[in-house]
């Protein structure tokens, strides 16, 4: 269940502080209203609503599908469709979702570099957004898995390491079979990906949890030098004084066609294998 901290302070000091917070919120509210009146032309219509409903049912869609969906929603409701205005269309939706602390956000898959749109919940600053589906000890294990992934060099956590951390839970312990079952659920619910016994954070997870990860793992989290987003599966410059990180797909795009790849920050030779740029898959129905 999604809740915000309720304000039930009783002391005068706290009450004054709350009042100030509320006044600031009202100010922000007024600013939003002013913004909205500027955007009067962009009111939500049925095309937006249908798009939003589809996003709600799917959680995350790739860019290609989002474009097709945008066109389809406009055509279904006889609204003008401008192909390269998808982000504006989404912005209209986001302006109305903001009071509910929801947003349609864009992010990149670390596997293939494809862009995705995900409907995310901005209310929680913790993994408690998952609390309606997972027990406390399960959330704790998820946090530990995230620890392992963030602190790893390759952005992966082996099932062995995760099973071992199940033994160190401070909430109720998890048996091996329970941990395996939990990991399957996390994959099924699209928080984690699994490949050959190793777990990575899903694209949806990265998009949704980015603010939490940035604040929680300030010092440890890697940031891609090219796109400036948080990075887990990436290549690292070998020069000790440099050590910049670049997402695998960002490496592919940045170094494409260059005879001799060089670090964009320190100009040292880039020693890693440059992956191929992956073409986006043509749109497919699930």
């Amino acid at each position: 269940m999604v809740t915000h901290e309720t304000t039930t302070h009783t002391t005068t000091g706290s009450r004054l502080k709350e009042k100030k917070k509320q006044e600031e919120k009202e100010g922000a509210h007024c600013r939003r209203v002013t913004d909205q009146s500027r955007d009067m032309a962009r009111q939500m219509e049925d095309s937006h609503r249908r798009f939003l409903q589809t996003m709600m049912a799917n959680g995350i869609v790739d860019e290609q599908s989002a474009r097709t969906l945008y066109q389809y929603c406009c055509e279904t409701h006889n609204t003008q469709h401008t192909p390269d205005k998808l982000d504006d269309f989404i912005e209209t939706i986001n302006s109305k979702l903001q009071p509910m602390f929801m947003q349609v956000r864009k992010g990149m898959s670390e596997d293939n570099g494809q862009q995705f749109y995900a409907l995310v919940n901005m209310a929680e600053t913790d993994v408690t957004r998952m609390s309606s589906d997972y027990a406390d000890n399960e959330l704790e294990l998820f946090r530990k898995t995230m620890d392992l992934i963030v602190c790893s060099e390759n952005g992966k956590a082996s099932s062995t390491d995760i099973l071992n951390s199940a033994d160190t839970l401070t909430t109720k312990k998890l048996k091996k079979s329970e941990t395996e079952h939990l990991l399957n659920r996390l994959v099924h619910d699209r928080w984690l990906n699994e490949k050959r016994g190793e777990y990575t954070l899903s694209t949806r997870c990265i998009i949704e949890m980015e603010p939490y990860i940035r604040s929680m793992y300030q010092d440890q989290v890697k940031v891609c030098h090219i796109c400036r987003n948080i990075a887990f599966q990436c290549q690292i410059c070998e020069k000790p004084t440099c050590g910049i990180k670049i997402h695998n797909p960002c490496v592919a795009r940045y170094f494409k066609g260059r005879a001799e790849p060089r670090c964009p920050a320190c100009d040292d030779f880039w020693p890693h294998e440059i992956p191929e740029v992956r073409r986006p898959r043509s749109q497919s129905k699930r």
Binding site: M1, Q22, K25, E26, H29, V61, L69, P99, R286
Partner: protein, 281 residues
């Protein structure tokens, strides 16, 4: 059997106020302690909070509904008051009004009260089910099963003894006693899951010994599923079967069965005759 990709949602203007007697008695809520505030109480209540606070509370109510509805769990007013509204319970009608407006304007959804005695709500789609959407949601495979059951109930005039359901499903090669590869535990899906989600009602037939139960459409089905769609679905099933020389009909003890139609018999006979003529010297 044609499988529905998505449950048809349609706007229904009539609210179903039918009083059901659900099997699980824990549905009784303690709403009796919450008296509906008068409009003057609401006015006074509104003065206690800033507009921003009221907006925030409305947003929380919207979130609460969305999370519950995602799992097809109806929202009970008692839960809403206890977990979300709390101090704001006196302006409950105003918050609900604003939440409804948000659902309408932002999401294209409608809040529908499916149980006016226990005050339970669900979200219903206001947008028409569109043809051939480019993205089909991760489909719940049990939707097809649900549609078959709803169709059977519909064709039998609104109520069906449970034995008829099991027997008919068996003839469609879905054995409720066994684990089905696509639907899983069929009996549980129908008697528990669909009932909890309010798609079906599982009602005891009075004066039966041993006790017998019947199935009816549930409140959610009444508002979400259009009868037109059911007829279309039945039409598709019929068409599917007729293409294979089969048809739906009811036999003496009221079971639906699939039978080879007369036309097919004729065709088969003709083919046999032709073969005989050709082969014969």
């Amino acid at each position: 059997m044609t499988q529905r990709k998505r449950l048809a949602n349609t706007q229904s203007s009539s609210q179903n106020k039918r009083q059901s007697v659900p099997l699980a008695s824990q549905e009784e809520d303690d709403d009796s302690t919450f008296p509906q505030p008068s409009s003057s109480q609401v006015q006074r209540g509104l003065e206690r909070f800033t507009p921003a606070q009221v907006d925030q509370k409305t947003a929380e109510v919207v979130q609460f509904f969305l999370v519950r509805d995602q799992k097809k769990i109806p929202v009970r007013r008692a839960d809403l008051v206890k977990h979300v509204l709390k101090d704001y319970r006196n302006i409950y009608p105003e918050i609900m009004k604003r939440a409804a407006r948000t659902f309408d304007q932002v999401f294209g959804l409608k809040i529908v009260e499916i149980d006016s005695k226990n005050h339970m709500y669900i979200l219903v789609n206001k947008l028409e089910t569109a043809e051939a959407p480019p993205i089909t949601s991760p489909t719940n495979p049990k939707t097809g099963l649900l549609f078959v059951v709803l169709s059977l109930i519909f064709m039998k005039g609104g109520a069906v003894r449970e034995n008829l359901i099991w027997n008919t499903l068996k003839k469609l090669r879905v054995d409720a006693g066994e684990k089905h590869e696509e639907f899983g535990d069929v009996k549980k899906a129908i008697t528990d899951e669909f009932v909890r989600q309010r798609y079906l009602e599982y009602v005891r037939i009075p004066h039966t010994e041993p006790v017998e139960f019947e199935f009816r459409w549930g409140q959610r089905a009444e508002v979400e599923v259009s009868k037109v769609k059911i007829l279309e679905f039945m039409g598709e099933v019929s068409h599917f079967l007729s293409e294979r020389g089969l048809s739906l009909c009811t036999d003496e003890d009221g079971c639906f069965r699939v039978s080879i139609s007369f036309l097919t018999c004729v065709c088969v006979c003709v083919c046999v005759c032709v073969c005989v003529c050709v082969l014969a010297p």
